[in-house]
Amino acid sequence: MIEVTGLSKKYGSLEALKSISFKVEEGSVFGFIGRNGAGKTTTMNILTGLLKFDDGKISIKGKDFLKNKHELSRLIGYLPETPSFYDYMNSYEYLNFMGEIIGCRSKNLKKTVEELLDKVKLTRQGKRRIGGYSRGMKQRLALAVAFMNSPETLFLDEPASALDPEGRMEMLELIEGMRDERITIFLSTHILNDAERVCDRICIIDEGKILLTENLSSLYKTYIQPIIDVEFEDDPEHKIEPLKKLEWVENINIESHKVSIYVKDINTARRKVLKEIANLDAGIISYRIRKSTLEDIFMRMVGKNELI
């Protein structure tokens, strides 16, 4: 289990993390979601020992991270968002290099490297220099490095961001497979569909603060409030101002010609929304009421945070 209490980090005067606390259960997939600059990567870098922190406490498997950093780092695998390798090496050489650092026995190392390359589908390109790899191939090699020595905890920072759709699906299947093997996964992503598919627990971070940490199932129960999507013929930006002033409207999200209305009271909304939209004097293409997705919950939480 990973337990973070009151973690703070400053970059000069900028507070990147404002006393955040959360727990990651053993064998679960913990989705860490937030906008760019929210503090996701800073948290990851601290938890993997790459960055110092100003205040707080981290314990992994019940052991204090700072006091047992060397021992605990052997149990951790990390896939950074933009992995960087020695470009003049090939995959075999790089994995051997990392294996030696981790302390893999040389007898097993060759076999381990071959298995890992096979797992991430890089066996054919294993003898090519890494400098000639595509971003997706580098991401797969990074995953092989993260898997080295069968870590008990994996930190994955945007693991699918550089992958093509097929690679992304494979990555998600891989994460699901690891969850079945009871590997603890700390997954940072901005692809909310991915988080929705593989995570057991979701944590939303914004501006260095944790806005929410909850199991995915109870999250849907709490934020079951439907959303009303309306598509307009023209840009609705200026026309929807009256809707924002309605007391049963919590927030409005505009994306091109589509407007998502987040409501406080669905019963009132159902009765009144059509009348209010008709009063806007704007051409409507479609109208529907749908259930909240993780993306909606995220937008709602982040929106609230902006108002604070």
Binding site: T42, N45, T82, Y86, M89, M148
Partner: protein, 255 residues
């Protein structure tokens, strides 16, 4: 020890594939070969362009003066090549984020720094020894006269090796504190050249590493008692800079 072994191998692969061995070879051994040849051939090539007096200077080169000429040139060229080929030894790793994986998997910074230092100290030592022997071989073929012997050459080479080992320890330290490798390169170059000025001051010169070069050029009496202070300072300074680099790499934020 795992980190030391892994990084030692990595440095060897890197030096081959990024041509660092070749660059250091050119700056030392190739220069040692070229130096006496140029000294011999220059008056012939330039005989129509330089005065007879100047031609005479070239003609009267003995084995000793040719060797001393090589020492001066090796100091200038060697320092230049070493400073600029190794200036990114640590800064490139840190600021190009090459250390993310090793640090996240528990690399021992001491093993890493020592592997880098030992690898390049050994490389430079071998190349300098090769350079001195190559130069001695060609000097013996091309020039005559003087007292130069293999013993003198080896003693001089040893002091040059010590000098470059201390310079390397300073370089590795600066490379861990400066973000831009070029700053490290220029600092080492300026430091290497400017410290030679202290050789003019008899009372304090023994406390500076460039005194090793001064003694290496005194071929009549290379090893004397004044070298004891320099040797003590040499060992302490080298250990200090390597230790400071390890300390810095233990405290540094990698991400």
């Amino acid at each position: 020890m795992n980190s030391f072994k892994a990084y030692f191998k990595k440095e060897a692969i890197e030096a081959i594939r990024t041509h660092k061995y070749l660059i250091l070879f050119v700056g030392t051994v190739f220069w040692a070969l070229l130096n006496p040849l140029m000294l011999k051939l220059l008056p012939i090539i330039l005989k129509n362009y330089i005065t007879a007096e100047l031609t005479d200077i070239f003609t009267y080169f003995t084995r000793d003066s040719a060797f001393l000429n090589f020492l001066g040139d090796l100091f200038e060229m060697g320092t230049l090549f070493i400073a600029f080929s190794l200036m990114g030894l640590i800064s490139n790793e840190v600021y190009r984020k090459k250390l993310t994986f090793p640090y996240s998997r528990g690399v021992d910074p001491a093993g890493m720094v020592l592997a880098k230092y030992v690898h390049y100290a050994a490389t430079i030592s071998i190349f300098i020894l090769m350079a001195f022997l190559t130069n001695y071989f060609y000097i013996n073929i091309l020039f005559s006269g003087g007292i130069l012997s293999i013993g003198i050459v080896l003693k001089s080479a040893l002091l040059y090796i010590f000098y470059y080992c201390i310079l390397l320890s300073i370089l590795i330290f600066f490379s861990s504190i400066f973000k831009r490798s070029l700053i490290t390169g220029i600092t080492i170059l300026v430091l290497g050249y400017s410290l030679s000025l202290f050789n003019r001051f008899k009372t304090i010169r023994v406390y500076f590493p460039n005194y090793l070069l001064y003694r290496a050029a005194d071929i009549l009496n290379i090893f004397d008692s004044s070298l004891v202070s320099t040797a003590i300072i040499y060992f302490c300074t080298t250990i200090l800079f390597v230790f400071l680099t390890i300390y810095r790499m233990k405290k540094i934020d990698i991400a």
